[in-house]
Amino acid sequence: MSSSQTKDINFQIDSFVEKLKRRQINGSYHVALETCQLLMKVVSVAKWNHIDQLIQHIRQLGLRLEKAQPREFSCGNVIRRVLAIIRDEAFENEGNNNELNAPMISSMFSLLSTNDKKSNIQPLINSNTKSNKYHDLKSIIIQSIRDLIDEISSIDEGIEGMSADLIHDNEILLTPTPDSQTVLKFLLKARQKRKFTVLVTENYPNGVEKAHEFIKELSKAKIDTVLIPDSHVFAVMSRVGKVIVGARSVFANGGTVSTAGVASVCECAKEYKTPVFSVAGLYKLSPTYPFDIENLVEIGNSGKVIKFSESQLVHNTGLTNPLFDYISPENIDIYITNIGGFAPSFIYRIVLDNYKTEDVDLS
């Protein structure tokens, strides 16, 4: 635990923050993975006397990372997952070692009077088992983070597995998120057993190129693919069997943030009672509530909408180019995650399983 090591970790943290700010790391998947890797290094270098110190340290780090790219939610989600892991492990550890204390705390009397006694006992236990316990805990936490990395990197497999059950033969699907790798893999996997048609929206202006790549991949796999303009969604919706949507983040209320244009597609789907499936890895689940919807939406490059060389337009028009859309839970029928499919109303339960309420607010 030399000072060079801590220097090194600070170096890595700061360059990671800078990269996030510069958008050199992009996409929730990459951000989640890199955050995990960084956290693993931080934990392996960190020193702590009490587990609360580590938790506090990671919370502060989380706050910085979140601020660096405030609308990349997966970063915060991963940090909260890791915090939950640490708390669980610490609780288990303490649960085993502090059985002596347990009965004392349980009585009302001891709560008031045993403060000094406890402090006498604790050093005794600590001095005997501290170093052992400390290293155990550390390796357990690192192992858990490693598991989390494995989970994230293999998340698509879990989701893919369900595709054949959800997609029928000769069905017409529509996806308004050609930028989602999860959706792509989901469809490709389904193709192995089923034959179906996919309608893909063009996603002007931010996702046109990605849409083209997306349909290329699909048609390579011999899926009937149709590229439709964004304005055409309502017209084709009556024929669509299912809408499959990728997600950027899923909130505790069951709402989700996705690519711009998805909200209107979901409204159309609701009008025709077409089921909307949202595919999302577990790391996209966020324990926060979307109170300020406006603030969730990143506004992108205006130059994508109008060419900058159009001097008159640039000068005289005000324009915004939102990159995301918020979709309320009523407009989504089911979330397909790597641990199964859930109704939006059930998301809060999964959030509770994976996160600790005390970590929702990191500040």
């Binding site: 601020k67 490059n301 130059g303 060419k307």
Partner: protein
């Protein structure tokens, strides 16, 4: 972990990308503010300009950055030292280079060459670039072109805009002539400011030989981002009269038959790139940043560690701890720094307000930029203005379009500032401040202070209790016309620019008045000619004494002429004086007699005149000048005769013209009269023979 990092670094080192940032613009467009702070530290949307450039370099994956600092170099290096770029996790190594004696981009490049820092192709940017361009694409193309064309020495990055785009420089627009297939630059011509008098450009057809198709483009934003090969500084070294990167270097390279180098352009349509080089572009780029044209370079990216901007609808950016009164109205494209308070009934549109500002009640602010710690009292009206840090604007004042309020200026209540007035807190002399190193500036300032004991503030402008002086713009000297002013001002006056094809200005007006930047004394005198004469005489005396090469002497003279912008008459006068002084010296010391001395000097150096005369008038002028100088120096009359015979001999002067001059000017010189007689006879003989 540590060894791994090191290994990576070693691999990178083989192909490290270097960037040279010219932090000085060598211009005075941002005066009087640049007399206090260098241009690259002026805030744009509350972030110092240099940050945008460095952000771009960081994203471009540059490994080493060298900042060439000239004026206010101490401030720049102090800023960099305390910035995040100097921290160990900075994406590149940064180093400031002091080139205090540089007076132009050319000087800086020569200094760069002398230092031998450049190892390979490097990125040359000025310290005021704002761009989100994806640099790897540019670099890729540069490498591709380089593999195809071995003479390729530079790639310029240009953005497509339109001729009168607000973000395009209106004070330095330029036309590029490109090969339409390869984007090879064939010709470059800067055109005078768009001020209603549109001029023509003329192209030598030679440039267009061997070209199938070319395009003339007057719609490009030149953001001064270039990838250059190591030859570039060397070329500057060889051509020491090059001052400007475009006007001299690009043009010089393209029109040179000897160098045979080529320059390519990279034109991008999807990315944003622009340069803050005048108030007009300052305004435009600020608005572009606020309207997210340069995404992800937007205020809410919070590139500076302590910034806390967040985005709200309609492009409003607010930091933490902003106090807005309930009835104030914030329009679109507004950024407000922390701890700023805005009073009741105030309306703000398209503006940037710095930190710790106090904006009173019922104020109207439109398209204005108010820097940190300023106070604006109730009921002011501010349009298209800049208010620098720590200023104070009194109640009920009105700032009209284009006004610039300098640092620490105080304006009294009920004042009306007219259009395009610039006010600074200390008297800035009408000198080329940016060309003078900071030390010199202090000196000048000290001098001013002495004067100021009697001189009081310009009270009719700033009011009884105000502090500040009017800064007289030097633009008129700089760009030929006083009409540059509106172009360089903050206002965006499209409607005033009438472009008529009928008003084609003659070529002579396009000539650029080059700055007198070669003066060796730090305080430039107002009389360039006198100065030139002195300099030229010294130069020639040196050349004569040390027996320099004729070409070298000529080149030096030419450089002087260009840098001081004098006519050839002056050059001839100076040359004559220098040569004849030398003759006089010989005679005075009795080393040679009159004839021998003239023979010696003019046989060798007479050809100097050859390159100083271009038509008949010039020849006659030379004769006149020689006669005058001989009289001035008190040399014997036959001297002129000797000179004439020699110059006639070396074919500098033509027979007819000598005769013509003799006839037109009745000169009392019996020796020359004989020569003329002989000439006339010879001519007659000639005609007889025929």
């Amino acid at each position: 972990m540590a060894p791994k990092v090191k290994k990576q670094k070693e691999i990178v080192k083989d192909e490290r990308l270097q960037a040279i940032v010219l932090t000085d613009s060598f211009e005075t467009r941002f005066m009087p503010l640049t007399s206090v702070k260098p241009r690259c530290l002026l805030p744009l949307a509350n972030v110092p300009l240099i940050e945008y450039t460095l952000e771009f370099l960081a994203k471009a994956g540059v490994d080493e950055v060298y900042l060439m600092c000239c004026s206010h170099a101490d401030q720049i290096s102090e800023y960099i030292e305390n910035s995040k770029w100097n921290k160990p996790w900075s994406p590149f190594k940064i180093q400031t280079i002091m080139t205090l004696e540089s007076r132009s981009v050319g000087d800086a490049m020569r200094d760069l060459d002398n230092r031998g820092l450049i190892t390979g192709d490097f990125l040359l940017v000025s310290g005021d670039v704002v761009t989100n361009i994806q640099f790897d694409k540019v670099l890729e193309q540069h490498k591709l072109l380089k593999s195809q064309d071995r003479d390729h020495i530079a790639t310029m990055v240009l953005t497509k805009a339109s001729a009168l785009h607000r973000t395009r420089s209106h004070s330095e627009p330029a036309t590029f002539i490109l090969d339409s297939k390869t984007n090879k630059c064939l010709y470059y011509q800067d055109i005078p400011p768009v001020n209603g008098k549109k001029s023509s450009i003329s192209i030598d057809p030679e440039f267009l030989e061997n070209v199938d198709e070319f395009i003339v483009r007057n719609d490009l934003i030149d953001c001064h981002v270039d990838i250059c090969s190591p030859h570039v500084p060397a070329i500057f070294q060889e051509n020491f009269d090059y001052q400007y990167l475009r006007r001299d270097f690009v043009k010089g390279i393209l029109s040179s038959d000897i160098l045979k180098k080529s320059i390519y352009a990279y034109i991008t349509d999807e990315y944003y790139a622009a340069r803050v080089e005048s108030w007009q572009t300052y305004d435009a780029i600020s608005q572009d940043i606020l309207a997210r044209w340069c995404y992800p370079i937007v205020p809410d990216s919070n590139f500076l560690e302590n910034h806390t901007y967040s985005y709200e609808n309609e492009h409003i950016y607010k930091e933490d701890n902003v106090v807005l009164a309930q009835s104030c109205k914030i329009g679109s494209c507004v950024a407000i720094g922390s701890n700023t308070s805005i009073g009741d009934g105030t309306i703000i549109e398209n503006s940037v307000i710095g930190r710790n500002c106090k904006i009173g009640k019922n104020i109207y602010i439109k398209n204005s930029y108010i820097w940190e710690n300023s106070t604006i009292e109730d009921s002011c009206n501010i349009e298209y203005s800049i208010i620098a840090s720590n200023s104070n604007i009194g109640e009920n004042s009105k700032l009209n379009k284009g006004s610039v309020i300098g640092f620490n200026v105080k304006i009294d209540h009920d004042q009306k500032i007219d259009e395009n007035i610039r006010i600074s807190s200390s008297k800035v002399q009408n000198l080329d401040k940016s060309f003078i190193t900071s030390e010199d500036e202090e000196e000048v300032d000290d001098d001013d202070d002495d004067d100021e004991d009697e001189n009081s503030f310009d009270y009719e402008i700033v009011g009884e209790n105000g502090t500040g002086y009017i800064y007289e713009s030097e633009d008129s000297d700089y760009d030929d016309d006083a009409s540059t002013k509106p172009v360089n001002s903050l206002m965006y006056q499209m409607f005033e620019l009438t472009l008529s094809d009928d008003s084609i200005v003659s070529q002579s007006q396009i000539k650029h008045k080059k700055k007198r930047s070669y003066s060796t004394t730090s305080i430039a005198t107002d009389y360039g000619e006198e100065n030139f004469e002195k300099e030229a005489l010294e130069t020639l005396a040196r050349a004569l004494e040390n027996n320099h090469d004729l070409d070298t002497a000529l080149l030096e003279l030419n450089t002087l002429r260009m840098s001081m912008n004098v006519t050839y008459h002056e050059v001839r006068y100076a040359t004559s004086t220098a040569l004849l002084t030398r003759v006089k010296e010989f005679i005075g010391t009795d080393t040679l007699n009159n004839k021998e001395a003239v023979e010696k000097i003019f046989r060798q150096w007479g050809s100097l005149f050859k390159r100083q005369i271009f038509d008949e008038e010039d020849q006659i002028d030379l004769l006149q000048t020689l006669n005058q100088v001989i009289n001035d120096l008190g040399l014997e009359k036959q001297t002129l005769l000797y000179i004439l015979t020699i110059l006639y001999d070396v074919e500098t002067l033509e027979e007819e013209l000598i005769l013509k001059w003799w006839k037109d000017n009745e000169i009392d010189n019996e020796y020359v009269a004989k020569f003329i007689e002989w000439l006339e006879e010879a001519e007659e003989d000639d005609s007889d023979d025929e």
